[in-house]
């Protein structure tokens, strides 16, 4: 078909055939240039190319009154004339024009134009006649009284001259303009009429078909003008109008004219899109005899034609689908009965011929149906609509099942099941699975059928009856094969357990899941049966993997198990195994040697699941059934027989084997039901228990926080028997030491505890002591039990804290069995006990630490010649003690010495961290020995135990250089003539040194002059509080004769700096050893040591008493610097010098002149 067949018609009238030759170029050139078409009703203006057919004017062809046909409507009338002679014009042409005009007026046509063609040859012939314009002017004045543009002159149109071109193109423009004006006017009028007609649609007798024809006429015109968009709009409006009527009909608002569309559908010829206009159907519509499908088909074919002109073929398919769905709806709404209806979208592509062929026979229909289904599936797959493809496949499977071909159906069903499984669509899943079960049953695939049945029996989407049915299928199979079918008897059917039960929890008893060899261990398995009826299982068993215990790995923690000994199995997540949570556990590794933590970490236990690749392909391809499950052979098993699983929660108790030490891991679970076995191939999380074997152990621990020395203390003996069983006659042998005897009493008893710390028995212990060994007979104790008993020991306090002793052991070794240490003010005694155990040939050495509860100090005090000894005892323990019988004795028992106690109390309490002081006066007659050895002794007992035996405490010490050699006195007097001492004025200080005894120390140095022995003393005024200013020398050397009561007085001047009662400055006295002349004769080494140790060259104050053993400057003094002529001073012992005026005060008045006053406010 040629689309541009139809063109607007232009009627022409001429009186000379010469212009006919112009039509060719006119029809060609008219559509060359576009014109802007301004539209009414606000429609957007558009550029259109105008075409035209030129038709000879005949009056009878003009449209009659009331004829609405637009296609044949004369849009423009042209009157051609080449008349240039006014005479001729007047004679004939004018008349002819008038007749033409009259005819036009009669038909109400106002679109006309008169074209005057001029040619040069005519002009040449009649140059003398009227100017050529005059004809045109005449015509204008005659016909175009107002519209002068209705007459156009055309200048030699067939010539190529510029003048003729110009007039030609202006003529074309004029023609287009007028044609367009005519369109606008006539189409506008037509549309108005059409609208009026449409408004009348509620009136009775209005016919849609008539209206359809009218509006289609408009569409045709737009199509003719190549305004396909506008043409399509007309059809769409018709479509919408019709649809609305049908809908209103459905809602009960029926129009009479719709009755013709309600006739039953007897046939449908299908759609023909080949012809632009299906005239048969159009005629039917025109006659009002068209059926709904006829009208719809016609409308659609027209719309399609226009869409193809608009080059939008894709809309055709979209509208086709809509049409098909729409038709079904409308047929239903109009209650049209349809005999045969096969509107499947797969048929869309089907051409009429094929459909006919398909409907001709069943076989052919099948063939086509399969062909189309497969084509559709392939297409869906190609565009990635897998779900749709599988749905088609499923309906294909249903078809095969009805055909009795389950073989072909199975794969389609399994394929479509994948989507539902992977995306957990419950209902479709159940439905498809039911179909699969049916299919598998028909195929006699028993293994698969039973597996599917198990899944269905546990499917809550099914009714109870259905579930019971599928469960019964399994039970029937299981029992039936037990009898017959001998050849298949051994063949067992293994099914996945996940469809049968769901594991919930596993609980160990005892909860530690750690037992010793051959101890009882129970496992309680909680599971939820998914079956709808109770199922009695012949056996339920769990295979065990055994790993030999490896030394050093015993401390490994079973991470999956909770502290209460339960393992919780994760519930199967609904979202197809998207267990995305990290399962973390801590891992602690202990080193094998000392059980110390060697490494700690965190591990992810489901990494193999998380690290798996997630692609889109796998998401839809989750396998339906579990891979072939097989029961492993295992050496050891947990077994429970004749278990009835009720629907819902069940609990099964297993007794676990524990014959060998090692790790037992549960691997598989298997429930046996006749020939059917439900198998769980892997238990996850890992379930383990451990069986251990332990060496016997002995430990001795103090019962209190500290063991105190000197008092009976209780220690606890703990024996873990381990694998050793204590037999009758077994005994612990403790080697005795003198420093720590074992105190045993007859009431001593032992407790026997089980491994779970339950008290089983209590029995008396018999303890025998020989000289070397204490033997403790143990009661009979089974393995893996604990034996406990208490024993009292006493650790003697060594009398001299500084002395260490070694003792000879019973077995002849010389070893340091006890050691004394000093630690933060307390004296500690480490006591080692050697124990021989019956299970070992080696002795066990156990160390106990005792704390000495006291520290003790002594000091020598003097008052003139009298001497006092003070002993300070400090309780450093946390216990309060009673202290009695404090005595001080002199060891050498010198008859001349006497110690008189000045203590009033014989009993005293020493509270913790407190001191007790005791004082004795030392009296003597005759000469006092150089050194006095004393021993302090006391008895003590805990204060809160009044009947406890008193324990002795002793302290040895030695006093040296006890007797007083010198007495020093200092006296301050005001200056001569003054009554009182005043600040700022000099006072006199008189120091008198008196030798008290004639006897002398052995280390005193004398100088013999004139038979008179004298020793040299260094005195020094010390004023620590800076109250006094010493004028002149503050120190000096005096020579004292070695005679009793020899006195030396020294006078000095001092000045008080402050007023008030000031302390007299203290006077220090040293032995003075001048080194006058060099070379010095080296004294023997002993004396050198004595001398050097106390000599300091820098004259520094040697205030503190240094112990005699000090060897501080022995090396350095001699080697570091040459011994120069430096005098030396040496301090006296603490009791050798007595200061008589210590602490004496002198009143100092302020100076009389008080012009300066200092005020100290504190």
């Amino acid at each position: 078909m040629e689309p541009h067949e139809e063109k607007p018609i232009i009627y022409t009238m001429e009186n000379k055939p010469i212009v006919t030759s112009l039509y060719g170029s006119l029809t060609q050139q008219l559509p060359r240039e576009p014109m802007e078409w301004r539209r009414t009703y606000g429609r957007a203006p558009k550029m259109i190319y105008l075409e035209a057919n030129f038709v000879q004017f005949k009056e009878e062809l003009l449209p009659k009154e009331g004829n609405k046909a637009l296609l044949t409507f004369p849009f423009l009338h042209v009157y051609w004339t080449d008349c240039c002679d006014s005479e001729v014009y007047k004679a004939s042409v004018k008349e002819d024009m008038q007749r033409w005009q009259a005819a036009l007026r009669l038909h109400g046509s106002v679109d006309w134009i008169i074209a005057v063609v001029e040619s040069d040859n005519k002009k040449k012939n009649k140059t003398n006649l009227l100017p050529r314009t005059s004809i045109v002017d005449k015509i204008r004045s005659d016909f175009c009284n107002k519209q002068s543009d209705r007459c156009v002159s055309l200048c030699e149109p067939l010539k190529e001259s510029s003048r003729s071109q110009e007039s030609w193109s202006s003529f074309l423009t004029k023609l287009r303009t007028l044609l367009l004006m005519s369109f606008t006017r006539n189409l506008g009028r037509f549309e108005d009429d059409m609208r009026t007609l449409r408004e009348k649609r509620t009136e009775p007798g209005w016919s849609f078909c008539d209206y359809f024809m009218v509006q289609e006429e408009l569409a045709f015109v737009f199509e003719m003008l190549q305004q396909f968009e506008d043409a399509l709009v007309q059809y769409d409006e018709l479509d919408a109008l019709f649809t609305q009527y049908v809908l209103n009909f459905g809602a009960g608002d029926g129009a009479n004219w719709l009755g013709s569309f309600c006739q039953p559908v007897r046939s449908w010829n299908g759609l023909l899109l080949r012809r632009p206009i299906d005239m048969e159907k159009r005629d039917l519509i025109q006659r009002g005899e068209a059926s709904l499908l006829d009208l719809r088909s016609y409308l659609f074919s027209r719309q399609c034609t226009l869409l193809i002109f608009l080059q939008r073929p894709w809309e055709v398919t979209a509208r086709a689908l809509e049409l098909l769905h729409n038709c079904v709806q409308e047929l239903r709404l109009l209650e049209v009965c349809v005999r045969e209806r096969e509107f499947r979208h797969v048929c869309e592509a089907c051409v009429n011929k094929k459909l006919k062929e398909a409907l001709s026979s069943v076989e052919a229909f099948e063939k086509h149906y399969l062909e189309l289904s497969h084509a559709a599936m392939e297409m869906y797959r190609a565009i990635g609509r897998l779900r749709s493809a599988r749905l088609v496949g499923k309906s294909l499977a249903e078809f095969y099942m009805r055909k009795g071909d389950p073989q072909s159906a199975e794969n389609f069903l399994l394929d479509s099941l994948k989507s539902y499984v992977s995306e957990s669509w419950g209902l479709p899943l159940t439905h498809t699975r039911k179909q699969i079960a049916e299919c598998q049953k028909r195929l006699q695939k028993m293994d698969e059928y039973l597996q599917t049945s198990a899944l269905l029996a546990s499917d809550t989407n099914l009714s109870d009856d259905e579930r019971r049915h599928f469960c019964q299928e399994i039970l029937t199979f299981a029992t039936q094969t037990a009898e017959g079918k001998g050849q298949q008897k051994d063949a067992r059917v293994a099914l996945s357990m996940s469809s049968f039960t769901r594991l919930q929890e596993l609980r160990f008893r005892p909860s530690s899941a750690l037992v010793h060899v051959s101890a009882a261990l129970q496992l309680e398995l909680r599971l939820c049966s998914l079956m709808p009826v109770p199922v009695t299982l012949e056996q339920i068993s769990a295979s065990i993997h055994f790993t030999q215990e490896q030394p050093g790995s015993t401390a490994q923690k079973r991470a999956a198990q909770n502290p209460d000994g339960t393992v919780t199995f994760p519930a199967a997540s609904p979202a197809s195994g998207s267990a995305s949570a990290l399962e973390l556990c801590e891992i602690l590794e202990h080193s094998s040697s000392d059980n110390a933590l060697s490494s700690a970490g965190v591990a992810c236990r489901n990494m193999h699941l998380l690290m798996r690749r997630h692609d889109s392909s796998t998401s839809l391809d989750t396998p339906n059934t579990a891979p072939a499950v097989a029961m492993e052979d295992a050496a050891q098993m947990l077994r429970a027989s004749d278990v009835t699983l009720l629907p819902g929660n069940n609990s099964i108790v297993f007794t676990a084997p524990s014959q060998k030490p090692g790790t037992y891991t549960l691997r598989q679970l298997c429930a046996t039901l006749g020939r059917v076995q439900f198998i769980l191939p892997h238990l996850y999380p890992v379930v383990q228990y451990e069986v251990y074997s332990q060496e016997p152990q002995l430990s001795i621990q103090p019962l209190t926080e500290h063991l105190l020395a000197g008092l009976p203390q209780q220690v606890k003996f703990t024996i873990l028997t381990g694998h050793y069983s204590v037999k009758k006659g077994d005994a612990l042998q403790l080697s005795n030491t003198d420093s720590m005897p074992v105190l045993h009493s007859s009431t001593c008893s032992a407790r026997i505890l089980s491994s779970s710390a339950e008290l089983l028995a209590e029995s008396a212990l018999s303890i025998q002591s020989s000289e070397k060994v204490t033997s403790i007979s143990l009661p009979v104790t089974p393995p893996y039990h604990t034996l406990e008993f208490l024993l009292e020991v006493l650790c003697h306090i060594p009398s001299c804290p500084a002395r260490m002793e070694s003792e000879r052991l019973t077995n002849g070794q010389i070893s340091r069995r006890s050691r004394t240490r000093f630690n933060s003010g307390m004296t500690l005694i480490d006591q080692k006990v050697s124990v021989d155990c019956p299970w070992s040939i080696y002795s066990t050495l156990v160390s106990l630490t005792f704390h000495v509860p006291f520290t003790i100090k002594h000091s020598l005090l003097s008052a003139g010649r009298r001497k006092f000894i003070q002993v300070c005892l400090r309780n450093v323990s946390d216990t309060n003690f009673r202290l009695t019988n404090q005595t001080l004795t002199e060891n050498q028992h010198s008859p001349s010495l006497e110690l008189c106690s000045l203590n009033t109390k014989t009993h005293s309490l020493v509270f913790r961290q407190q001191c007790v002081f005791s004082v004795w006066e030392l009296r003597w007659s005759g000469v006092l020995p150089v050194s006095v050895h004393c021993e302090f002794s006391a008895a003590f007992a805990p204060a809160d135990a009044p009947d406890a035996a008193l324990k002795p405490y002793r302290y040895d010490f030695t006093l040296e250089r006890v007797s007083t050699l010198y007495s020093v006195r200092a006296e301050i007097r005001p200056a001569e003539g003054e009554q009182q001492c005043c600040t700022g004025s000099l006072c006199r200080l008189e120091v008198s040194l008196t030798r008290l005894s004639e006897a002398s120390d052995s280390d005193e140095e004398y100088s013999e002059t004139d038979g008179l022995r004298s020793s040299r003393l260094l005195y020094e005024v010390m004023d620590n509080s800076s109250n006094w200013a010493v004028c002149g020398k503050s120190s000096g050397v005096v020579s004292m004769p070695v005679a009793a009561m020899a006195t030396h007085k020294v006078h000095m001047e001092v000045m008080p700096l402050f007023a008030g009662h000031l302390l007299v400055p203290s006077i220090r006295v040293f032995k003075y050893q001048p080194r006058l002349t060099s070379p010095v004769i080296q004294p023997d080494t002993d004396s050198c040591l004595e001398n050097d140790s106390l000599s300091l060259e820098d004259q520094a104050e040697t205030a503190s008493l240094r112990s005699r053993g000090s060897v501080q400057s022995l090396g350095s003094g001699e080697s570091a610097q040459p011994r120069g002529p430096m005098p030396k001073r040496q301090a006296f012992g603490p009791g050798q010098v007595f200061s008589g005026t210590q602490g004496q005060q002198v009143l100092v008045l302020p100076a009389a002149d008080l012009h300066l006053m200092e005020v100290n406010v504190t």
């Binding site: 769905h325 990635g384 957990s424 979202a575």
Partner: protein, 139 residues
């Protein structure tokens, strides 16, 4: 009014699906499940070009003889599907849109519930009653 309303998780498993009781529930499950094909197609088609200003409403997914299936995808790829009887032509696109918007608001409330575990089936009564207002009343 809808005959079936479904909420489908990001992983394409159903979180909520409810249909009018008069018609087969299974059929709607199949219909909704198959419509995911079109939803995925539309998401992947649009996703890259206009990720920011993506329209959540996907429009008509596909019509069948009896039903029209509309889709909507949240930014977290949760899908809403509304199935409408195709005889119900009075329902306009805007009404479908507002149904989806209501559904989305109610779904957001469900997600805000601290006791709701994302990925679990929706059992909220409030959500259920919102859905009820959008469903065809069973007659």
């Amino acid at each position: 009014m809808a005959v079936c309303i479904a909420v489908i998780a990001k992983e394409n498993c159903p979180l909520y699906i409810r249909s009018v009781p008069t018609q087969g529930e299974l059929k709607f499950h199949y219909t909704v499940h198959t419509s995911l094909d079109v939803v995925e197609e539309k998401i992947s088609g649009v996703g890259k070009a206009l990720a920011d200003q993506r329209e959540l409403y996907l429009g008509l997914l596909y019509p069948t003889e009896d039903y029209k299936v509309y889709g909507y995808v949240t930014n977290s790829k949760v899908k809403f599907v509304i199935v409408v009887d195709s005889s119900n032509t009075s329902l306009r696109d805007n009404e479908i849109r507002s149904m989806f918007r209501k559904l989305h608001n109610s779904f957001t409330d469900v997600m805000c519930n601290p006791f709701y575990n994302p990925g679990d089936p929706i059992q909220s009564k409030a959500f259920d009653s919102i859905v009820s207002t959008m469903m065809v009343q069973a007659c």
